[in-house]
């Protein structure tokens, strides 16, 4: 089988001694063995002491055990609400809204508390997808650091009235008032704002988006006469060119784009076509990692690249950058774009750059085919100049009252210090932040808003596409919504909830339509008819029982009402823009700021332990921000200094040299992380870190704030600047990276082909597998004819011809490749298929799994010891020459327990705590586990996790809880509310791992049994599967010939199906689909780049 070479990090590529040692030690912790050669008595723990302790602990245990059982109380509801049945979850359709970020969601509540978020498949925007942040938002609800009551002058107050009086006095003082918000998606809140402004005519509403898109908004206004963002249809695009836009990770609406992008990348031997994705970028983004063709340039060159692309499209002019790969890629991209169905997106916030991008899109007729001007996207509405002018006006004392909601300018504004200073000149300042953040602590009043899971509300993410928000829990604290506050100040007597209901009743026409809309969660063109016929009874505020949900969700029609498309005629001034771009030059190294997939702009995510501990898709670092530099730059810096330390880009040594970046007189000290694929002259720092201590225990004073390095060019904010001075400091700092934990030591676990190669011989992978295992599958003394009859039977059972071949081969290999017996699965045999083409590495599944299965957060110091508990990791592999960022290709591989039918872990457990079920599950009985860790040692996939500590207060010993003073733990009543009551919280000393969400499988079976019918395909879904925005994961009963998983393996995709480490005859129940790149060359297959690995391994 082809031994394509991938590496997780440079240390693996170079196979340093430290790396080899770390691979050998799966659990890098020092064992407390002391030298006993001096005699046992003088050892630190002499034998006698040992015996004494043994005796004492035995006696203590006996005493403890003989104590009486505690008396447990069963407290019922005093009066049970009709819609709650204890033990049965209720689902509510709602909307995730965070600034302009949007996702249609279903909230799972148990006994009245939200515990899990799922995507709402009825939405034609996010189509059931979620992101890691959406999954983690439920933990933010139970954030201990949330403000619990209003504050006045820094002191907590119990009543809203006092603040109301002072704010209304301020509003009526005649001095202008400003309502400063992030982008608001809610039409009703906007209506409330109108009412508020009608009452106070001097008030203005200003929108401030810290991650700004006003360059695009203004360029679109100039180009198309609309200050708006269009809808992007990545599913319709054949060629996607992204210039620095991380549209799968953070740009604009990643869930929506990921869904569309993946749709265009789904291919099979029957459908040999997929979109081609070019990425030009300076840092290594999630989107770049997924690109077919990726070339690097400095962020300041995004404009130049856009111009070069424009010229290549319009006149065929060859670009003249120093980088050959960049030039070639632009030429190819231009050729592809001209073939039609192309799309160019750009992450720059510069009006001129965006104008050129618009010109290209107009030239290739993208408008109307892949870019839709009929339906505007409302995700970002802020214009940067408004904010800058506001700060100036505040400073000049022209603002009497400043009401802030969803923004934190003291932190997020490029000149936060100036804002804080100017805030002092505002007599009445009020923040509605839910945390004691930088702005809230500087404001006179704090009036915390509800969490979105506690709120009524709505969103209009796209014009005409609405989404409703309903509370799934009563407000936990004394908080009040923005709209309620505004209504109170405007003198209205209605509450926002009534206002909201009236608005929607009027809009929808009838109570039944309203109920229906609330149950669906979305109000979209063409949806109402469909859903009302589907669901017979419109329950009032309830969404559906899980059973109903399964039915609803499995019957979402494959063909949706298509969004109306329309183009727009381009009227921008390209030549002026090109001339402007020609002036944009930067010299020296460049600093690029970026949003992390997990943390984003900051906000409440900065204090969300799930988000802080989620490994970054590219760097695999947790808990911190850092300076990303390329390997070549690390070496270069090193050579100048003759200090080898900086090149310790081996991730084994997590103590990193701290470097100082200085730009324009501002400096920042952060540790380095070497990232292959970074442009050699670019350093990148993530935003959202370096928060004040009061933001919370988890996120306070973690990392450094990079917002001060944002730039203001007079029109828009920018996220990059040149002439960075890089200096070494004496300091060192630990960065907890997970990338080299759980190593596969270079074994071939990824199969990757170019589209051309795959098209030429789709069966290549299958032939490789047959070839390698033929010897084991077909015993020489066994007769094997051509098996025509058997094959015909398999085809009759619903397999394709190739599928039948694969199935009979797999059956023979299963039976003959082992001395062990073959496990029988008489009823159900669970299986999962993961499409490496669709997986974009975003990490939504990791957090979905964490939320569903009560997976513990371990804290940075324990991640450093490779003790992270994720049941699922997304392994990120690089291929290529680390010194040449343009050769780097990245592959993501989700890795979870493979539920082997012939599992190596099961054989070695001395107490049979892990064993096999008749449904193909590799079971783990925690209460039986004695913690030998033999299973983890013997697991070739390295997916078992040991509870080194009592992370979540699982046992009855009060002092046993692990505490690092930083990690938010699950030991408080508030945070514990997020735990899934159907999954046990594991105690210290036991092994755990992916269970295929067995609680969901059991539930789906029970629902079917109660209804007295066989379980339907799609009723049982794992948490990773439902979280995935790209439908990369298919799960189901392989014994069911009509199931999607059966179809995937034996009908639609047998050519691409493979099992990781199949040669071990583990008979895994997780299969993967090989990755197909739509480009000319898979780097990992090339001898030049493989040499290093061959040498090492």
């Amino acid at each position: 089988m082809s031994q394509n070479k991938y590496w997780k990090g440079i240390e693996e590529l170079e196979n340093t001694p430290a790396y080899q040692k770390s691979v050998a030690d799966e659990f890098p912790a020092e064992l407390p063995f002391s030298d006993v050669s001096e005699g046992m008595l003088s050892a630190t723990t002499p034998r006698r002491d040992f015996l004494k302790y043994l005796g004492f602990s035995t006696a203590a245990a006996m005493l403890a055990a003989s104590c009486e059982m505690p008396v447990r109380k069963a407290i019922t509801y005093a009066i049970k609400p009709d819609e709650i049945m204890p033990g049965v979850p209720n689902w509510y359709a709602s909307s995730f809204v965070d600034g302009g970020d949007y996702c249609a969601i279903l909230v799972k509540t148990r006994e009245g508390r939200p515990i899990k978020i799922e995507g709402n498949e009825l939405s034609s925007i996010t189509r059931g997808g979620t992101s890691a942040r959406v999954q983690a938002s439920v933990l933010s609800l139970y954030d201990n650091a949330r403000i619990r009551q209003p504050y006045a002058d820094g002191k907590p107050v119990d009543m809203f009235e006092k603040i109301d009086r002072e704010v209304m006095a301020g509003l009526s003082s005649g001095k202008p008032a400003v309502l400063l918000t992030a982008t608001l998606l809610s039409p009703t809140v906007k209506a409330v704002i109108d009412q508020f402004i009608a009452k106070y005519p001097t008030a203005r509403h200003i929108v401030f988006d810290p991650i700004s898109y006003s360059g695009m908004l203004l360029a679109n206004e100039a180009s198309y006469g609309k200050r708006a963002l269009p809808s992007y249809h990545f599913d319709k695009a054949k060629t996607i060119v992204s210039i620095g836009a991380d549209f799968l990770g953070t740009w604009l609406s990643p869930v929506e784009f990921a869904k569309g992008y993946a749709a265009g990348r789904k291919m099979s031997a029957q459908k040999l076509e997929m979109s081609r994705h070019y990425q030009f970028e300076g840092l290594h983004s999630l989107t770049g990692a997924n690109a077919d063709v990726r070339a690097t340039c400095k962020p300041s060159e995004y404009g130049a690249v856009a111009v070069a692309l424009y010229n290549a499209v319009m006149a065929g002019t060859a670009p003249s950058f120093a980088s050959k790969k960049l030039n070639d890629s632009i030429v190819k991209a231009a050729e592809d774009l001209k073939k039609g169905n192309g799309m160019v997106v750009c992450g720059s916030n510069d009006v001129q750059v965006q104008t050129v991008v618009n010109a290209i899109n107009a030239a290739i007729n993208a408008n109307g085919t892949t870019i839709n001007w009929a339906v505007n996207s409302n995700y970002k509405q802020g214009i940067d100049a408004d904010m800058v002018n506001l700060v100036a006006a505040m400073k000049a004392g022209q603002v009497g009252t400043l009401i802030m909601h969803g923004v934190n300018p003291a932190y997020e504004y490029y000149d936060g210090a100036a804002f804080t200073e100017a805030l002092k000149s505002v007599p009445v300042s009020l923040s509605m932040s839910d945390h004691l953040d930088e702005t809230a602590t500087a404001s006179k009043f704090i009036l915390p808003d509800h969490h979105f899971l506690e709120s009524w509300g709505d969103a209009e993410p796209k014009t005409g596409y609405f989404s409703l928000m309903q509370p799934s829990i009563a407000p936990l604290f004394k908080t009040r919504s923005l709209a309620d506050s505004l209504l109170t100040w405007a003198g209205a007597t209605t509450t926002y909830a009534d206002f909201w209901k009236d608005y929607w009743l009027k809009k929808l026409g009838s109570q039944s339509a309203f109920d229906q809309a609330l149950q669906d969660g979305v109000v979209e063109p063409g949806l109402t008819n469909f859903s009302s016929s589907l669901i017979p009874t419109a329950g009032a505020l309830r969404a559906a029982t899980p059973n109903d949900t399964a039915v609803i969700r499995s019957t979402v029609p494959a063909v949706r009402l298509e969004m109306t498309m329309s183009g727009a005629s381009f009227a921008g001034n390209v030549s002026a823009a090109i001339a402007g771009i020609a002036g944009m030059k930067s010299s020296g190294s460049e600093l690029a700021l970026y949003e992390k997939v997990a943390i984003g702009r900051g906000g409440s995510w900065s204090n969300n332990p799930w988000m802080l501990e989620m490994p970054d898709p590219i760097t695999k670092a947790t808990w911190d921000n850092y300076v990303c530099i390329s390997p070549a730059m690390a070496k270069k810096l090193d050579a100048g200094d003759l200090d080898m330390e900086l090149t310790t880009h081996n991730e084994i040594n997590h103590s990193r040299r701290v470097i100082r970046l200085t730009v324009n007189g501002k400096s920042l000290e952060l540790p380095t992380v070497v990232v292959p694929g970074m442009h050699n002259d670019v350093v990148a720092v993530a935003l959202g870190y370096g928060r004040v201590k009061s933001i919370g225990r988890a996120g306070g004073e973690v990392g450094k704030n990079a917002y001060p390095f944002m730039t203001w060019n007079g029109t828009t904010f920018g996220m990059a600047q040149g002439d960075v001075k890089i200096e070494k400091t004496d300091k060192r700092y630990d960065i907890a990276q997970t990338q080299t934990h759980h190593s596969y030591e270079g074994r071939a676990i990824i199969h990757e082909y170019t589209l051309d190669d795959f098209s030429k011989n789709p069966k290549e992978l299958l032939e490789d597998r047959f070839g390698e295992f033929h010897h084991f599958a077909h015993l020489p003394w066994e007769e094997h004819g051509d098996g025509a009859a058997q094959k015909a039977a398999l085809i009759a059972a619903g397999m394709s011809e190739v599928g039948a071949e694969a199935a009979s081969f797999e059956a023979a290999y299963r039976k003959n490749g082992t001395l062990y017996g073959v496990y029988d699965s008489p009823g159900i045999h669970w299986g999962m298929s993961i499409d490496l083409n669709s997986c974009i590495g975003c990490g939504a599944c990791v957090i979905g799994c964490q939320s569903e299965n009560n997976v513990a957060v371990v804290g940075k110091s324990k991640v450093l010891m490779a003790q992270e508990m994720f049941w699922m990791n997304i392994d990120r592999y690089f291929a290529g020459n680390p010194d040449d960022p343009d050769t780097i290709q990245t592959v993501f591989q989700p890795m979870l327990c493979q539920h082997c039918d012939n599992a190596p872990c099961e054989n070695v457990c001395p107490v049979s705590a892990t064993n096999h079920s008749s449904e193909g599950l590799n079971q783990m009985a925690y209460n039986r586990c004695i913690g030998t860790k033999y299973c983890a040692n013997n697991c070739p996939y390295k997916v078992r996790r040991f509870n080194w500590m009592d992370w979540d207060d699982a046992d009855c010993f009060a002092d046993n809880l692990y505490e690092d003073g930083h990690r938010e733990t699950m030991d408080e009543n508030l945070t514990r509310m997020v735990l899934n009551p159907d999954v046990v919280v594991r105690s210290r000393g036991v092994m755990e791992k992916c269970s295929f969400c067995v609680q969901r499988l059991q539930d789906a079976k029970l629902v079917a049994k109660k209804a007295g019918r066989p379980m339907q395909d799609g009723e049982a879904k794992t948490a990773c599967q439902t979280a995935c925005p790209t439908d990369a994961i298919v799960f189901g009963n392989v014994n069911d010939k009509s199931s999607a998983i059966f179809g995937m393996r034996y009908r639609d995709q047998p050519e691409r199906t493979y099992y990781v480490l199949e040669e071990l005859h583990t008979m895994a129940n997780v299969s993967y689909l090989s990755k197909v790149r739509n480009n000319d060359l898979i780097v990992a297959g090339k001898p030049e780049t493989d040499i290093i690995m061959d040498k090492s391994i």
Binding site: I79, M924, G1012
Partner: protein, 428 residues
Amino acid sequence: MPALNRLMARYPQLLAGIFTLFLLSLTHQSFAAPDGKALFQNNCASCHNPLKDATGPALQGADKNWPRPDWVYDWVHNPSGMIASGDKHANALFDKFKPIVMTAFPNLSKEEIDAIIKYVDDYKAPGSAPAAGATAAAPASSTEDNTWLYTSITLILLVLAIILWRVNAGLKRVAQEKEGQPVEREIPIYRHKFWIAVAMILVTILAGYWIVNAAIGVGRQQDYMPKQPIFYSHKVHAGINQINCLYCHSGAEQSRHAMIPSTNVCMNCHKQISEYTGAADHKLVDAEGNEINGTEQIQLLYKYAGWDPAKKEYRRDAQGNILATAPPWVKIHNLPAHVYFNHSQHVKVGQIQCQRCHGNIEEMDEVYQFAPLSMGWCINCHRQTEVRFKENNYYSIFAKYQEEIKQGKRDGITVADEGGIECQKCHY
């Protein structure tokens, strides 16, 4: 089990199913002679006590009253048919125990019925019968009279042997002294290494046995009968007044929790019923033997429910919410956190009677934990109980088992066959 009979009336197919299950499990073992004790406990014990009248009549000696020897087969196979047919003895029984009609057991074979009758007739009262009539409670440690006899004889003989041995040793020493042979100095038994070793081993074994048994019992609470905040009698409600179990425990068919009802459910009836009038027929007595005034207990309920019995309305706060609080019921059946148990799986899907795990709940004034709730107890039941393989279409996916049943290789599918004793059926 009147409550169950109500259940029966509502879900006739439910009970038929359960008993089919019972019987299927019995036929499974029918290669051996029918085990009367097991049959009795599985099928009859929830209503019948061998010695005294319960929900149904005492069975010991009942055969003497039968009009004909084979009368019992007809009766067991179809009681209501017998009553309807005007059979005199059947109607006499019915009059005595009405409105409860005995459940039909059409699948019990004649041999099995005979075995039950034989067991019942041979049955002797245990040394101390549990007060609440817990027929299946742990067997009392009774010893037969002869044991004492044998023990005392053995002890006497042992003492005799020791005396003789000592005498023999003394004489031997005297003889040796007389003959001038060197005399071994005798080591007393309490300092004799051999005997000390023997004693230590014995103590270790016994202590080990005791510790292991005690350790296994840690956390188990069979027969646990705590005092509850309200003296709520299941016997009065489910037994005498025959309220369906599911009326209050409405979660049992839908959820993992059977659910203790909230006070508003109690008030559905107790708005009208404010006095306990049944004291003449059934005096309420608690475990300590104190007489309980039922009416006072209803008043206690009113306090929790926020009901003003004088005004006959709820007390409400300013917002109009009823001022109810939940009674702090003491939880009797406690499973460890790592056990997932789902009532609906057992009650709705498995159609298991409540009494199978909770005992004669309709006979209990105060509820106690009837079953050990140990893993062994669960597993045993999963091994023996058959799923409703033919009735529930869910199981149609088990093609292999369908085939085997068709070929006659199998009679039925137990829970264990379907994976019911695998770890992750209950632990996740």
